[in-house]
Amino acid sequence: MPKDYQQDFGSIITSKTSFIDEIINLARKSSIFYLLFGLACCGIELMQTGGPRADIDRFGSVPRATPRQSDLMIVAGTLTYKMAERCRLLYEQMAEPKYVISMGSCASCGGLFQYAYSVCKGVDKLVPVDIYVPGCPPRPEALTEGLMRVQDKIVRERWFTARQKIGQPQPSLGVDYKVTA
């Protein structure tokens, strides 16, 4: 793995986790409840991923309809400006620690709707995204891989030793900062 990839996980990554950390993270990664945020075509593939063949219930992931009970928000589909405020509201209603998967190319960068006047070009203008899953729509296997990468992120978190701040988004692509450096 190239060096940059490890660094880009943010300031919570170390390579050493203690035994208690591992137990806690094992429990957390095996029960990721995701928020059903299927907006468009990727929403159908999200349903199929939760369906019988590519079953993510075997990872312990069940869909929840309310953000108060979910750890993961899978933004599946095109985000329009009218929906954007609701997306931000739902993200803020989720409890920490929370993760976001941006599923599909519409959620990652606006997809094939670059000339649309009503499509938000990427959900990372509003919420900090952890994993981007490309595809139009991504196959269920691709989304499962995205979920496993979130599990990798969870496994590396440390709870009892000194660590830097978590939950602060790093400056990244897309997020509408006004950069004055």
Binding site: C41, F113, Y115
Partner: protein, 392 residues
């Protein structure tokens, strides 16, 4: 180092519609847009006392992806992937509507094998679209198990269509003047095996769900729509046929090679309740799946042998400005219509897509007075609205 993220403001108080409703002690709740059972991102402003609704006003536009404006920028062939997104569950039909409209503008004929390939793909897509529709309807009414059953069958169809055109959901299979790929070798046997398996599943589905006592009690006599009301609000497809109007574009205004097939059109008869109630709309869809199996068997048996799948299309499609064409097809959700006005150059001047779900939303306000909230969910499910068709 860097400024804080500017969070977009929430501006909920300024809605005009709040001024129009007299609240008078009731609650005004938002059902949606993120909701597990509103069939996509649709919002309902529900004025209710907690259980019985006075009004449910639909609010759409949360998935408005400006497809009609994009149609003015794309070339005719390049617009095909966008038509997939008009109705992603029944994408082949949207493709076909666009292809037929532009072929009408060009005035061209297709080779017979191309028409047959289109029909095979479209009828397979009709079955998979109706599977989602009946599966989600059962789930909305409360029976969660039928939904994975429907998804399991849909996976087989996804495999078949993936073998045909490479994609599971947004196919982009049709082209102006034909189809993109021919049927692979051994495809007819695979589809026949699937149809043998699927027709037994349909009988099991009927025993388990359609005639289930609880299901019937939930849906019978729910929001019956009379013939006149259905025609006035311009409902189409299974919604219209459940109300007793015998109109199917495949039979009334035949297009493609549909005249060569024998199939029935299921009409709602009020078998367990009133004619035109939610159970009739559900039953129409289940029966349409059976008829699609019939059409598929005939299409595979009568497939022409000459392997020509594209007609004579110019490389750059240029049509005189102002020429307009109108195409109507029987999509899974009803009568989908494309109104295309050709522009100067290689793109259209105006594309208007009229879908069945858009007008079906207009009737929900009238039908929902006096219903309970759980019935509203069943009503939306029985009308089979999907958000992309409404918002485009």
């Amino acid at each position: 180092m860097s400024k804080a993220l500017e969070i977009p403001t929430m501006d909920m108080e300024n809605k005009e519609v709040l001024r129009r409703i007299e609240i008078s002690g009731d609650m005004l709740l938002n059902m949606g847009p993120q909701h597990p059972s509103t069939h996509g991102v649709i919002n309902f402003l529900v004025q209710t006392d907690g259980e019985v609704m006075k009004r449910a006003i639909p609010e759409v536009g949360y998935l408005h992806r400006s497809l009609e404006k994009i149609g003015e920028r794309c070339t005719y062939n390049g617009y095909m992937p966008y038509t997939d997104r008009v109705d992603y569950i029944a994408a082949m039909f949207a493709n076909q509507g666009w292809a037929m409209a532009v072929e009408r503008l060009l005035g061209m004929q297709l080779p017979r094998r191309a028409e047959y390939c289109r029909i095979v793909a479209c009828e397979l897509n009709r079955i998979s679209s109706h599977l989602i529709s009946v599966g989600t309807m059962a789930m909305d009414v409360g029976a969660v198990t039928p939904f994975p059953y429907a998804l399991r069958e849909r996976e087989f169809i996804n495999d078949l269509l993936e073998e045909l055109c490479g994609a599971r959901l947004t196919y982009n299979y049709l082209r102006i003047g034909g189809v993109a790929f021919d049927l692979p070798t051994g495809y007819e046997e695979k589809v026949s095996t699937f149809l043998d398996h699927f027709e037994k599943i349909l009988d099991e589905f009927n025993r388990l769900i359609t005639y289930n006592e609880i299901f019937v009690k939930r849906l019978a006599n729910l929001a019956p729509i009379s013939k006149e009301m259905a025609i006035d609000y311009c409902l189409v497809g299974p919604n219209l046929r459940a109300s007793g109007v015998d109109f199917d574009v495949r039979k009334a205004l035949p297009y493609s090679v549909y005249p060569e097939f024998h199939f029935d059109v299921p009409l709602g008869k009020g078998e367990v309740g009133t004619q035109g109630d939610a159970w009739d709309r559900f039953w129409c869809r289940v029966e349409e799946m059976r008829q699609s199996c019939r059409i598929l068997r005939q299409a595979l048996a009568q497939m022409p042998k000459e392997r020509e799948i594209m007609g004579k299309v110019p490389r750059k499609i240029k049509i005189p400005e102002g020429t307009e064409a109108y195409s109507r097809i029987e999509s899974a959700r009803g009568d989908m219509q494309y109104y295309v006005v050709a522009g100067a150059g290689e793109n259209a001047h105006r594309v208007k897509i009229r879908t069945g779900s858009f007008t079906a939303m207009g009737i929900i306000d009238t039908l929902s007075r006096g219903l309970m909230i759980a019935d509203l969910v069943a009503l939306i499910a029985s009308l089979d609205v999907v958000a992309p068709e409404i918002d485009r």
